[in-house]
Symmetry: C2
Subunit: 216 residues, 2 copies
């Protein structure tokens, strides 16, 4: 497997939060927004915000801050969120239902075009307007529609097998919500979403405020 | 509002992944595990792994690596995951159903003890064995059971109102899955989970492998 290294992954993770704040400033009619305002809104250090936004190529002006409209364009272009991207979601359970109903994705150009499941009761239904197909339809739908992204919300036990089917049919990016490390084909990007990461952060914040929670 | 700063948040986010790998090594009978093995498994640099694990206080030995059993204990203690923690989940929709069914949380000591919703059809039912109560029961249940953590999976429009009810009744940590920045009371830790962060990372990885995806 070829390793795909992303420079400054934590910076990239923060870009969507910046984008939300900057878009809101834009909606409120502001032409400029300062790094300090963004930093305060997100409980970050201003120097971190300036460093993160630097990866988009936009530089702030002293005393005025960042030009709002070009910054929105630059962040969206950097992320590739300025184009419509189709995706499939495999495993049409509760998590898939939650994800397909999450309004932010469509705002960022991500459109779920098809869901897949093995359960006969689910096949033929739809989740938030996304039709649910049998797994045997993956090849036809992915290839016909030229879909590049698959979101995996299947049980961990069939994660690799499902990923293999996706990759064989041209999927180039897998967003993996299972607990399994996917062996990717060359050229395929895999992002594993581990919900316990956020819980780790909450735990440490909570412990730091309430040291009595820690056993000694 | 007092800002709660967590040192090395990206390091903390990675600890659960380390813990999984180290526990697996433990289950397979290994006494030591090298930082390089962990790094390879997660596509990280060994120096990053050593830096991250350093926050737990455990130091690896040259040529042998980290002692597995003490490292598991140290990570779990650092995160406060060596004790059982009760939580409520507010908003008993699809995301709540997915989260309460996520087996990793229980493994890390997080137990959902009660769910809450405003929908009369949901009240009195249960999700993955977690009883769903009316919002009017938050006070009694949180106070009686001394619960400190609330997971917010309500619609964004009632996020702050719901958080206020939780904080008024003694909740000290809020894991916020809504799209709203929660104004926290002093001493309350809030971790906002933004699912678009992971999508940003996947997008950048995908674009870096397939530059034709980027409009020029």
């Amino acid at each position: 497997m070829v390793k795909i290294r992303v420079p400054a992954a934590p910076s990239i993770r923060r870009l969507p939060s910046y984008l939300n704040i900057i878009k809101q400033a834009q909606a409120e009619g502001y032409d400029y927004i300062s790094g300090t305002v963004i930093a305060n809104e997100l409980n970050l250090e201003p120097i971190q915000v300036r460093k993160d936004l630097g990866i988009t190529g936009i530089v702030g002006k002293p005393k005025r801050g960042y030009p709002v409209a070009p910054l929105v364009v630059a962040i969206e272009r950097f992320l590739g969120w300025d184009t419509k991207t189709g995706a499939i979601i495999v495993g049409a359970g509760n998590l898939a239902t939650a994800l397909t109903g999450y309004p932010q994705f469509k705002l960022h150009g991500l459109h779920f075009l098809a869901a897949f499941d093995i359960s006969p009761e689910k096949i033929g239904t739809s989740i938030h307007g996304v039709p649910v197909y049998a797994m045997s339809e993956v090849a036809a739908i992915v290839q016909t529609m030229g879909i590049e992204i698959a979101v995996l919300t299947v049980p961990s036990t069939c994660a690799q097998e499902t990923a293999d089917i996706c990759m064989q049919n041209g999927i180039k990016g897998i967003w993996n919500f299972t607990n399994v490390k996917i062996k990717a084909q060359e050229g395929v990007a895999v992002q594993r979403e581990d919900l316990t990461s956020g819980y780790a952060l909450l735990s440490v914040m909570l412990n730091s405020r309430h040291p009595s929670r820690i056993k000694t």
